[in-house]
């Protein structure tokens, strides 16, 4: 079992990304940063001070930023473009698909304010709960949703060493610490976070994983033994390992800070349908627009609370019979 942090410690995924990017850029002169007036949001002013020539500020225009990044990459650079995930994946969706993913250019996207948790008080315009579904439908781009700041740092270094397009979804800067600093990050591999038993599997990623851990621990105290799995790499999906978990449990709950269409829940449903029949309950945003609010309250309000997870597991076990 991966060592997790039981307290309510917070640490910024944005700062973790920015720190890791400096580290990666020190080792690799091809790494540069695209800003759509998003240097401050990306916490990357220190990067700009350290590598002034390697920052390209295009102003508030995400579409041109992505096309510009494609131009940089075509000439041998390795640009990272960091701004709000909603503007990357929705406003510049076509530029990602046609000018980065299709030619397979080495551009990395770092989307801030992932989910309703990341967007919290900003409201719907600055949240993104469609990004994973949108990008899963695009061939040739990898997708990573790290759980917390420590994992963001390691995931940033991991994707910096990969060739080709990757989307990294991070948060607001007020992000719960989930894993102990000693926990590593292996791209493309799922992680067993709790292995209490095979009554049901719980699949989760991102900050909401914190709640899934609390739920799994609580259920275990009540004699309900789950296997809690973190799926930080959504694409490529670690299908064989997921099949193995499903074949042991025969039942799964997915918990994601995303619309229930297109994200982790859909990905697991696809594996279930094609490879490993099992009962499934998807927890996530149920195809509604959320609203502004405090992050933890939003999770409770929109159905991703600890109680929701526990209830879903119990319901599944009943359905299994």
């Amino acid at each position: 079992m991966a060592r997790t942090i039981p307290t309510d410690t917070m640490a910024s995924t944005r700062d973790a990304f920015a720190t890791a990017l400096i580290e990666a850029a020190a080792a690799d002169p091809r790494i540069c940063l695209l800003s759509a007036d998003s240097l401050k949001a990306a916490r990357a002013t220190a990067f700009a001070e350290k590598f002034p020539d390697r920052v390209f500020e295009v102003g508030i225009c995400e579409q041109a930023a992505v096309a510009f990044a494609a131009g940089l990459a075509s000439a041998g650079l390795k640009p990272f473009f960091c701004t709000y995930g909603c503007f990357i994946t929705m406003r510049a969706c076509e530029q990602i698909r046609t000018f980065v993913a299709y030619p397979g250019l080495d551009v990395k996207f770092v989307g801030l304010n992932g989910g309703i948790y990341g967007g919290e008080r900003e409201g719907v315009t600055h949240m993104v709960f469609e990004d994973i579904g949108i990008l899963r439908a695009v061939p040739g781009i990898e997708i990573v949703v790290p759980a917390d700041a420590g994992q963001t740092r390691k995931a940033t270094l991991a994707i910096a060493n990969r060739r080709g397009p990757v989307y990294l979804r991070i948060g607001s800067g007020r992000d719960p610490v989930i894993f102990d600093e000693s926990v590593g990050f292996e791209f493309g591999k799922l992680r067993l976070v709790r292995e209490y038993g095979t009554d049901a599997a719980i699949f989760a990623n991102g900050p909401v994983l914190k709640r899934a851990i609390v739920a799994a621990d609580k259920l275990a105290e009540q004699g309900i033994k789950t296997t809690l799995v973190e799926v930080h790499t959504i694409k490529p999906l670690d299908v064989d390992a997921i099949v193995e978990v499903l074949s042991r449990t025969g039942a799964a709950v997915t918990v994601e800070d995303h619309n229930i269409y297109g994200g982790l829940g859909s990905a697991i449903a696809e594996v279930i349908a094609e490879r490993a029949p099992a009962r499934l309950i998807r927890l996530g945003l149920r195809d509604v627009f959320p609203e502004s609010g405090e992050a933890e309250q939003l999770f409770d309000h929109f159905g991703f609370g600890v109680q929701h997870i526990c209830d879903a597991v119990r319901r599944l076990i009943m359905l299994k019979g």
Binding site: C32, D53, R54, F56, V58, G59, C61, Q63, A64, A67, F68, A69, A70, G71, L72, A73, S74, A75, G76, L77, E94, Q95, T98, F99, Y102, P103, G104
Partner: protein, 272 residues
């Protein structure tokens, strides 16, 4: 007249034959838009650009982006005639398994420096290439040919703003100003006027020329190359369908396949 112009005129005529033949054989394509860029593409590939067909990925090469990707038969013909790939690839255009896609694909076609086709992206892509060249200490030029109709796209003006702000002097953009877009006259469809004035307002160096006159094209490129502190636009007045009389300025040829009689008539004219 510059001494190389007769050769360029002859090459342009060859490319026009290739273009019309490719579209005829493919049974699909955009003749009008391909024919209007022929002199620009010919001047770049047969006189101006520092390229090596044996090394299409040469890091120091000049770059070319056909922002109006639907005109790619002209680009493919130039690349084939210049030796980037065999001439017998040309009849495979738009067919399954062909390296010549309906719109340019940098992964499939040697010499294609950037994938295009979705309109409006050439200047942003080219600005990135020019900025990378500066960071990497290269002295290559980036040439972009954009249509006039595609200047409707907002991303064009985003990139025009950034390229000027970044002082990308090695970015040289041609506007193939043939005056037409899919549904009609550019002025009527979108109200686009005074293209050079609009670029100038963003801080670009601007020139206006006859886009079918090699002397004017070559002179304008020399002037643009000397402009190191800001990007340059060369607004090239062209004729859509140039070189085939019944295609010229007839917008039904925006996307149209010639009949056998039309094809033979065009070949006869271009061989005369």
């Amino acid at each position: 007249m510059r001494p190389e112009v007769p050769m360029l005129i002859e090459t342009a005529r060859t490319l026009r034959r290739d273009i019309f033949t490719m579209i005829y054989q493919a049974g699909d394509g955009h003749p009008g838009a391909s024919l209007s860029v022929v002199e620009l593409v010919t001047a770049l590939y047969f006189k101006v650009m520092r390229i090596d067909p044996a090394r299409p990925d040469w890091p120091d090469r000049d770059r070319f982006i056909l922002s109006k990707g639907h005109g790619c038969p002209a680009w493919y013909a130039a690349l084939a005639r210049r030796g980037f790939f065999p001439l017998d690839w040309l009849p495979t255009l738009r067919k399954l398994g062909s390296p010549l896609q309906g719109h340019p694909d940098m992964k499939k076609t040697p010499g294609v420096d950037m994938t295009t086709g979705s309109l409006g992206h050439g200047i942003a892509l080219g600005a990135g290439m020019a900025a990378a060249g500066r960071l990497l200490g290269k002295n290559y030029f980036v040439y972009v040919v954009t249509g006039d109709g595609e200047l409707n796209e907002g991303i064009v003006w985003e990139a025009i703003q950034s390229a000027a702000h970044m002082r990308l002097g090695r970015l040289i953009v041609f506007v193939d100003h043939n005056g037409w877009q899919s549904c009609g006259r550019v002025e009527q469809v979108s109200g686009l006027r005074d293209i050079a004035g609009r670029f100038a307002a963003f801080g670009w160096h601007t020139q206006e020329i006859d886009g079918h006159d090699f002397d004017q094209i070559l002179s304008a490129i020399e002037v643009a190359q000397a402009e190191r502190d800001r990007p340059s636009v060369i607004v090239a007045r062209t004729i859509k369908g140039k070189g085939i009389p019944f295609v010229e300025n007839d917008n039904s040829w925006h996307k149209r396949v010639p009949s056998r009689a039309e094809y033979e008539s065009a070949m006869k004219h271009l061989s005369a």
